[in-house]
């Protein structure tokens, strides 16, 4: 018998099969339908903005990151998610700024994949929101105005210059209309996505489906969205009962970035707790903050801030919700 060259590796010698790149590229794949629907509603602007954010994220990872980290797909996710949180008419140069900031400061500065504290896409978006508040809250109307292939804003504004805004083609987001004008939006429109808003916050149903696929494959912890939905539904429902001027639970769930945030941002593996109990608490915290900011805060939408604040608490949650070690406090023998 010829002696083959044998591999000597450490146990376990079998693996469960899902590798990190598999997970990441699955997330990317599940985001594509959402991008497609955004393009259906917002025309080529949606694709341009998403592409700009993604290209910036990937390029930053390539230039500043370690060699070979592009293959894991995480930079693509960050770029896509960032793109989906932006308004369709945003100048591309701003999308690029968000992508660069998200990856460089939000991720690489902490040591790259797996070591960052804040969700890079959301950090990039928060940076944009604070930097360009006007451009970031100019919501183009989907589909209705003009032909499909018309741009929905000044996407090609020259770098570092302000976009030109055509007021007739923009409108307040459903949340803003509710908060500041007490004008509700039909639930069906929210579920299907035929409303204004950022690219990925329109169709709640589709996001629920795509995220559900990831949850089924155990690529995200279903407890986080479950906990967020439950908290928001209970709090918003309760407040609505007390004072009908406050929006109801379903409106809260399907409006704004809650679906995308709950399914894709809060569940980002790196920046969410590792313990299951921690995930419940994390979700509850996000839900609570979303309701507080939306109802009592100065902003119409608070999902991004809620997740970022809870991100900061994750290290503490991990420690606090660490399960009891087997046998550390033995249960009474049942005889």
């Amino acid at each position: 018998m010829s002696a083959p060259s044998l591999l000597v590796s450490a146990s376990p010698h079998l693996g469960a099969g899902d590798s990190t790149p598999t997970i990441m590229w699955n997330v990317v794949a599940s985001l594509l339908p959402i991008v497609a629907v955004a393009a259906w509603f917002f025309g080529p602007s949606a694709l341009l903005v998403t592409a700009a954010a993604t290209a910036a994220a990937v390029a930053t990872e390539r230039v500043l990151g370690h060699r070979g980290t592009l293959g894991d797909g995480s930079a693509v996710i960050t770029g896509l998610l960032l793109g989906l949180t932006l308004p369709a008419g945003l100048p591309l140069w701003m999308a690029v700024v968000g992508g660069v900031f998200g990856i460089a400061i939000g991720k690489l500065l902490f040591g790259g994949l797996g070591q960052n504290v804040f969700n890079p896409a959301l950090l990039g978006r928060a940076f944009l929101q604070a930097s360009f508040p006007v451009a970031m809250t100019t919501w183009p109307v989907p589909a209705a105005a003009g032909t499909w292939w018309a741009l929905r804003g000044d996407n090609f504004a020259f770098p570092f210059t302000s976009p030109r805004v055509v007021d007739a083609l923009t409108s307040a987001s459903p949340l803003g209309r509710m908060k500041f004008e007490q004008q509700p939006t039909a639930l069906l429109d929210l579920v299907l996505g035929t409303t204004t808003g950022s690219l990925g916050e329109t169709s709640g149903l589709l996001i629920l489906l795509c995220g559900g696929y990831l949850a089924l494959r155990n690529y995200l912890n279903w407890r986080i969205p479950a906990s967020i939905f439950a908290t928001v539904a209970v709090l918003a429902g309760g407040l609505h009962q007390l004072d009908p001027r406050y929006p109801g639970a379903l409106f809260m769930l399907f409006s704004g970035g809650l679906m995308l945030g709950a399914m894709y941002m809060a569940t980002d593996l790196v920046t969410s707790p590792v313990t299951n109990r921690g995930c419940w608490v994390f979700g509850a915290g996000v839900g609570l903050l979303v309701v507080v900011i939306r109802i009592w805060g100065g902003l119409a939408e608070g999902v991004m801030y809620a997740i970022l604040i809870m991100n900061a608490l994750v290290p503490y949650l991990n420690r606090w919700t660490q399960p009891r070690v087997f046998g550390a406090r033995p249960v009474e023998p049942a005889t």
Binding site: I105, G112, Q115, A126, A130, A312, P315, Y316, R319
Partner: protein, 193 residues
């Protein structure tokens, strides 16, 4: 009145958080935020000193300073310094362990701008005694919150492969900036009604 106090509390704790929004009390924020444990204690000590300061400043503003406005700063400084000295001695007596843990940082509270800033804000906004107390409580809670958040993040970042140039204060400042960014979500809290 109640809503006024609530607003003062919320505003000083999160909306205008001393550390993250007003850059006050950065020394402990950057220096004593390595461990959650110490951060909590530092936050508690700070809140305590803030409360005492609020009372003392109220007394000074009501009874002494109307007659000698030019002594305002000196009076604040000296009263606060002596109060911290007392706190230090009390802590040393009651909890030697706490004293050891906070070590050289307790005296630092004296030169912590948050304390003096509280006194100045309180004076400028002519808060009543109760408002001053709530303001001190909110600011203290805000400082403690920022400290604990920073500490828990730093404990986890300690295991990360941070690039050599960014190690240390630059990274801590970036985290502080990110936290500050996240806290912008609280803007306008309770003031929209």
């Amino acid at each position: 009145m109640m809503s006024d106090l609530t607003w003062i509390f919320v505003s000083s704790m999160v909306v205008n958080n001393f550390t993250l929004m007003l850059f006050l009390g950065l020394c402990p924020f950057l220096g004593v935020s390595g461990k959650i444990d110490t951060a909590l204690r530092m936050g508690a000590a700070n809140t305590f000193v803030l409360l005492i300061t609020a009372m003392a400043v109220w007394a000074l503003n009501t009874f002494v300073l109307p007659y000698a406005p030019y002594l305002r700063l000196i009076a604040f400084i000296i009263v606060i310094a002596s109060l911290v000295q007392i706190v230090e001695m009390v802590i040393k007596k009651l909890s030697p362990a706490l004293f050891r843990a906070l070590g050289i940082y307790l005296p630092l509270i004296t030169t912590n701008c948050a304390i003096l800033a509280l006194a100045i804000f309180q004076t400028n906004r002519s808060y009543t005694f109760l408002q001053g107390l709530v303001f001190a409580l909110g600011s203290g809670a805000g400082l403690a919150l920022a400290l604990v958040l920073m500490a828990s993040i730093r404990e986890s970042v300690e295991l990360a492969d941070v690039p050599a140039v960014a190690k240390g204060t630059a990274l801590v400042l970036m985290i502080a900036g990110s936290l500050s960014l996240a806290f912008m979500g609280f803007a306008g809290l309770l003031s929209s009604s």
